[in-house]
Symmetry: none
Subunit: 190 residues, 4 copies
Amino acid sequence: MTGEARPLRADAQRNRARVLEAAEVVLARDGLSASMRTIAQHAGVGLGTIYRHFPTQEALYQAVIIDRMQRLIAEADALLAADDPGAAFFEYFTRIVENATQKKTLADVLAEADIDPKAGMADISRDMRDVIEKLLIRAQKAGAVRQDLHMPELLALLAATCMAAERNQWSDELRTRTLSILFDGLRSHH
Amino acid sequence: MTGEARPLRADAQRNRARVLEAAEVVLARDGLSASMRTIAQHAGVGLGTIYRHFPTQEALYQAVIIDRMQRLIAEADALLAADDPGAAFFEYFTRIVENATQKKTLADVLAEADIDPKAGMADISRDMRDVIEKLLIRAQKAGAVRQDLHMPELLALLAATCMAAERNQWSDELRTRTLSILFDGLRSHH
Amino acid sequence: MTGEARPLRADAQRNRARVLEAAEVVLARDGLSASMRTIAQHAGVGLGTIYRHFPTQEALYQAVIIDRMQRLIAEADALLAADDPGAAFFEYFTRIVENATQKKTLADVLAEADIDPKAGMADISRDMRDVIEKLLIRAQKAGAVRQDLHMPELLALLAATCMAAERNQWSDELRTRTLSILFDGLRSHH
Amino acid sequence: MTGEARPLRADAQRNRARVLEAAEVVLARDGLSASMRTIAQHAGVGLGTIYRHFPTQEALYQAVIIDRMQRLIAEADALLAADDPGAAFFEYFTRIVENATQKKTLADVLAEADIDPKAGMADISRDMRDVIEKLLIRAQKAGAVRQDLHMPELLALLAATCMAAERNQWSDELRTRTLSILFDGLRSHH
DNA sequence: GATGAATGAGTGTTCATTCAT
DNA sequence: TATGAATGAACACTCATTCAT
């Protein structure tokens, strides 16, 4: 009833979080060959504990991705209110790619954002898509982004960049240089 | 060393080719979950035959990729002699992405072209890299591509586009639109 | 022994009964693949509560069986005082088989009644045996059942019929017809 | 090429037989809790070898049962040509129950013979059924078995007896006595 | 050289049981 | 006392790889 209350439930929440975190780390390290057993060890919990929180390996993976997308989507709010719509747009693009570089596994979802609205992923994908679309429209209205850029190719480029950044562990410098080139293609040619 | 002719050699070559081809098809269809047995069945050979030619699953996959890269590299020759160096450069970029869309599995290697020169892949990756570099330099000299575009970011963008095209099965239209945007970023701003 | 009343004892008894009932239902439905968790859910109690009352899955199953045997044994009392000992004997046999058809899981114990006096089962099995024996002797004295029928083969036939009825879910008609044949074998040939 | 030829194939056949035999033994000993690993160890083969021959645990179990039924069905041929149809009928019934006592696991199928024609079991069950029906009809024509005995109750009684004999490991004496009683019920009352 | 039977480590998943709350 | 979160042994099954034929 107080701030510190409900210790049992708290422990469970804590384990859930530990599993999620471990899954993120192990997935980043081992890729798709990560095993549930390894994740359990990494999280310092029993194998069964994972299954208490996530009924399936796939469910766990989805939860990892959803978790990260939620955080990313939350970051967009501030940018949607930013003074410079163009800067906001490019910053968010950059932020997403940075995130992929660090954490991996995001790309797959972004990849499917425009394509495969599977299971519980559908909603969150749509949310991400919507947020990106809003930033795009604002930036276009401000004349910072070319008018003939539409969502399909924007998502395609975003997904592509994330995948490569994640897979090849782009350095900060490479990311900067690469995005700089890419952004030149997205900007208005007055 | 032997007095006899080598009719079997022809058969062996044939089997090797059959396995390679089957591996390409099955990898494209089943992705990483493709099994050696499936490939053997598809090739119409015994499981052991695969192992005679390729010591390891990984070796087979590498061979598939090398095979495709060789063909892609060969395609570059004509373009290196083309009249319009800019068009040649963009055409080759497009060609590689098309290839990824159709056949899958290429992206991974391209991805690593600038990074992970593992095993026998090193040489062919370097060849590919060289060919691309030559096309780039010609195009830059002709003023068709910006001077400040260097190999790392070019390869990064190429890898990114291939991965996404392969994974998300870009339609012809999406590929055209996406590359059009991207190419605007690569071009010279006079 | 304590100075306090025991209102909780009533709750405990109630939970024990609920678990027992749920176990019967779930065992009938799911057979041996029934899980403790399912039973707990069905009973509307926590998993731990089952273990408070029954230390082991096996103990619970035994309790279910003992419970049912007790009820069956109780039914025998009236028949032991019945006017027609022959009818009483055959009716009880029939009743037991009917019970097996409806509820499942009884057969296994009956099966072991003459054989495996394990754990707390021993007593109740003996009670059941005694009651059957009494009915048999009365029926034999009344000339309704052949003299050379002894307990081992009677129990064997009873167990056999229960198992099959339970496993194959005999219809009422099949049970009637089958027992009719069987009973002809048990009757006296004058 | 001679009687001893084809060693490779022979080995495979041999392993299949070994697995089948081991499965029979282990199933008899451990019941349904028998594990594939245990069977493999018992057979002296690797775990994968079982799966080479039987795609599924269920498939293996079915194969065990089918194997035994085939042998039993083969035994019926001689009896179908016997001089005394009544004796032949009762002998076959006895033979099947004996078999169940020794080997276990047969009962389940017999149980389902009249009921659940699942998968590849259907044919062999039908064969068994047919053979029993032929023996029954001959015995009825010879006046040795009551006319009003029909297949459903005959199969029910056979299944029942097999189950109990198998589960409770009837001694020879118990089997003789029990069947003797039962057969009195099957015979004609002139 | 070609075959495919054999192998067993490894995987995802279930479930009886324990114990902190 | 009741709860259900945690545990991990156990299971069916897959698949890269080896090797006898």
